[in-house]
């Protein structure tokens, strides 16, 4: 199957998913509203600290908002398109992966179109926060409009990096089966940590978050350049390369892991 026909297949899935979600309007609106509310309360935790202390390690309220928004949007893209990678455990425990192995395409490409998850609450919250922080920093003259395309770019590379981390973690499931605990560490804890400037943490933890579980590359490192003019313009293409490298590495790991798959049941 060609890449183009796979994309048209995926587009079809997105259309049908949205249509079937819309059939239950009340549940859809309620879910959206609550997701947005939970997201906002999560950001309020950070906002209150800023409100009380003004800045965190020299990072202003707008800058922290930016870190937070980029992370939220990258994660949202990853989870909208590849939610089933995060839920691989279900496929391993119930043996549902068997079904995917009977499809005439690589298993990963068969897994992704199993579900498209619409996350309007997260998009609303992340988008609003991003607009608010960019607008504030432009008004202060800290950044120019160039920051906007740069930001869109790094949200994309960030999604690729988060997807790679998620995929590598899920692959461990071929050996461990149960992976929620591991995901707690590599996905939830790591992502929460990168919602703040990494300089808060001890050295070993910074290197961990930059090289081992590279969530720092999603928002912190690009923000150093886009918002504060540190590092240099070369960092953006380098990030794109790093993201592709992560993707390649995790896909290779996945391909190896899948040969270790032991179907459950008799």
């Amino acid at each position: 199957m060609t890449m183009r026909s796979w994309i048209s297949l995926y587009a079809l899935l997105i259309r049908t998913s949205i249509r079937s979600r819309m059939q239950y309007k009340f549940n859809f609106l309620l879910g959206t509203l609550l997701a947005a509310l939970i997201q906002i309360s999560e950001f309020l935790m950070v906002a209150i600290v800023l409100y009380k202390f003004g800045a965190i390690q020299g990072w202003s309220m707008h800058e922290i908002g930016y870190l937070f928004a980029v992370m939220t949007l990258s994660k949202t893209i990853y989870r909208m398109f590849a939610d089933e990678v995060h839920h691989l455990e279900k496929y391993l425990v119930n043996g549902e992966l068997d079904q995917l192995l009977t499809r005439p395409m690589p298993v990963l490409l068969a897994l992704l179109p199993q579900k498209f998850r619409l996350m309007p609450g997260e998009i609303l919250q992340g988008g609003f926060l991003l607009w608010w922080s960019l607008d504030g920093m432009m008004a202060d003259g800290q950044i120019s409009w160039v920051a906007v395309p740069y930001t869109l770019l790094i949200i994309g590379t960030g999604a690729v990096i988060l997807f790679s981390i998620g995929l590598a973690t899920a692959t461990c499931g071929f050996w461990m089966t149960r992976i929620t605990v591991l995901q707690n560490l590599t996905e939830d804890a790591a992502r929460s940590a990168a919602q703040y400037p990494l300089t808060l943490y001890p050295k070993w933890m910074i290197s961990l978050l930059l090289f081992a579980i590279p969530v720092g590359l999603v928002n912190y490192v690009p923000a150093l350049y886009i918002l504060r003019g540190e590092l240099g313009g070369w960092i953006l293409p380098l990030l794109a390369v790093a993201a592709l490298f992560c993707l390649l590495l995790s896909v290779r790991f996945w391909q190896y892991g899948i040969t270790k798959y032991q179907s459950t049941g008799s």
Partner: protein
């Protein structure tokens, strides 16, 4: 006696997974470690009120451990699941009241989590951050009472969340909403007095501060025993609400015919 059996069964059921839970504790400890780092970083530039940096680290260490007693309990006490499977009508048929029945089970769960989660996680922080323990015996007593009260409040709140499953299929968002409120209003990460005043007012009108903030204040030696009257007030109020909810729930199940 029945209630004790229910509780000890729930406790023993968890024992078989304690190895995996110990590994999970490492993940949980990482979260607290991260929050502590944030406060240490902030403490480098700012005075952290009456707590000081060391005090805020102890604050985080205590709330993170207490979470396993007062927040991370069974989603809706397991009622949403029994509603889905239709087991709820069986549970209502039993000659014991649903509320104490589920509560007894949850106490067993909480006792397990206290011993195999709260304590190990606290010990990690104790050694990593060399935390000071309270000096007097009375403060231990107050902390214990506050924690037991908080656990009871949490059971009541989850009972109500669970009961809502009879009216909406989406009761899981209530559980997550409850967690968001705990993060914000219970002093999970930021002491309540640092919230904007309007949020403080909302917080103190709710039972949330009694879940984490009050036990932690008592533990740090900042509060006095008068806090505990608030805990008692909410315990009584929520008990009444839970009993009323059971009546409504029973009627609902009878109308639906199981």
């Amino acid at each position: 006696m029945l209630y004790f059996t229910l509780a000890s069964k729930a406790y023993a059921r968890n024992l078989q997974y304690r190895g995996a839970h110990m590994v999970h504790n490492i993940a949980s400890a990482m979260f607290g470690f991260m929050y502590a780092c944030i406060w240490i970083g902030l403490g480098a530039d700012h005075a952290l009120g009456e707590y000081g940096t060391q005090g805020m680290v102890a604050y985080i260490a205590f709330t993170q451990s207490a979470l396993w007693v007062t927040s991370f309990i069974t989603n809706g006490l397991g009622i949403p699941q029994t509603v889905r499977t239709g087991h709820i009508s069986l549970d209502l048929m039993r000659p014991v009241h649903l509320f104490p029945h589920l509560m007894a089970r949850e106490w067993g769960q909480i006792a397990y989590q206290f011993i195999y989660k709260s304590i190990p996680i606290y010990l990690v922080y104790y050694f990593v951050f060399s935390i000071q323990l309270p000096g007097t015996l009375t403060s231990y007593l107050y902390v214990a009472i506050a924690l037991i009260g908080a656990a009871y409040l949490s059971i009541c709140m989850n009972y109500l969340i669970g009961a809502s499953a009879l009216w909406t299929t989406e009761s899981s968002w209530l559980y997550w909403g409850n967690h968001a409120m705990i993060n914000l209003l219970a002093g999970f990460f930021i002491p309540i007095e640092w919230l904007p005043s309007w949020l403080q007012t909302i917080a103190w009108l709710s039972p949330y501060p009694y879940l984490l903030y009050v036990p932690t204040r008592l533990y740090l030696g900042f509060g006095d025993a008068s806090y505990l009257w608030g805990t008692l007030f909410w315990c009584v109020l929520l008990t009444l609400i839970c009993l009323t909810a059971t009546l409504l729930l029973r009627r609902k199940v009878e109308v639906q015919g199981g």
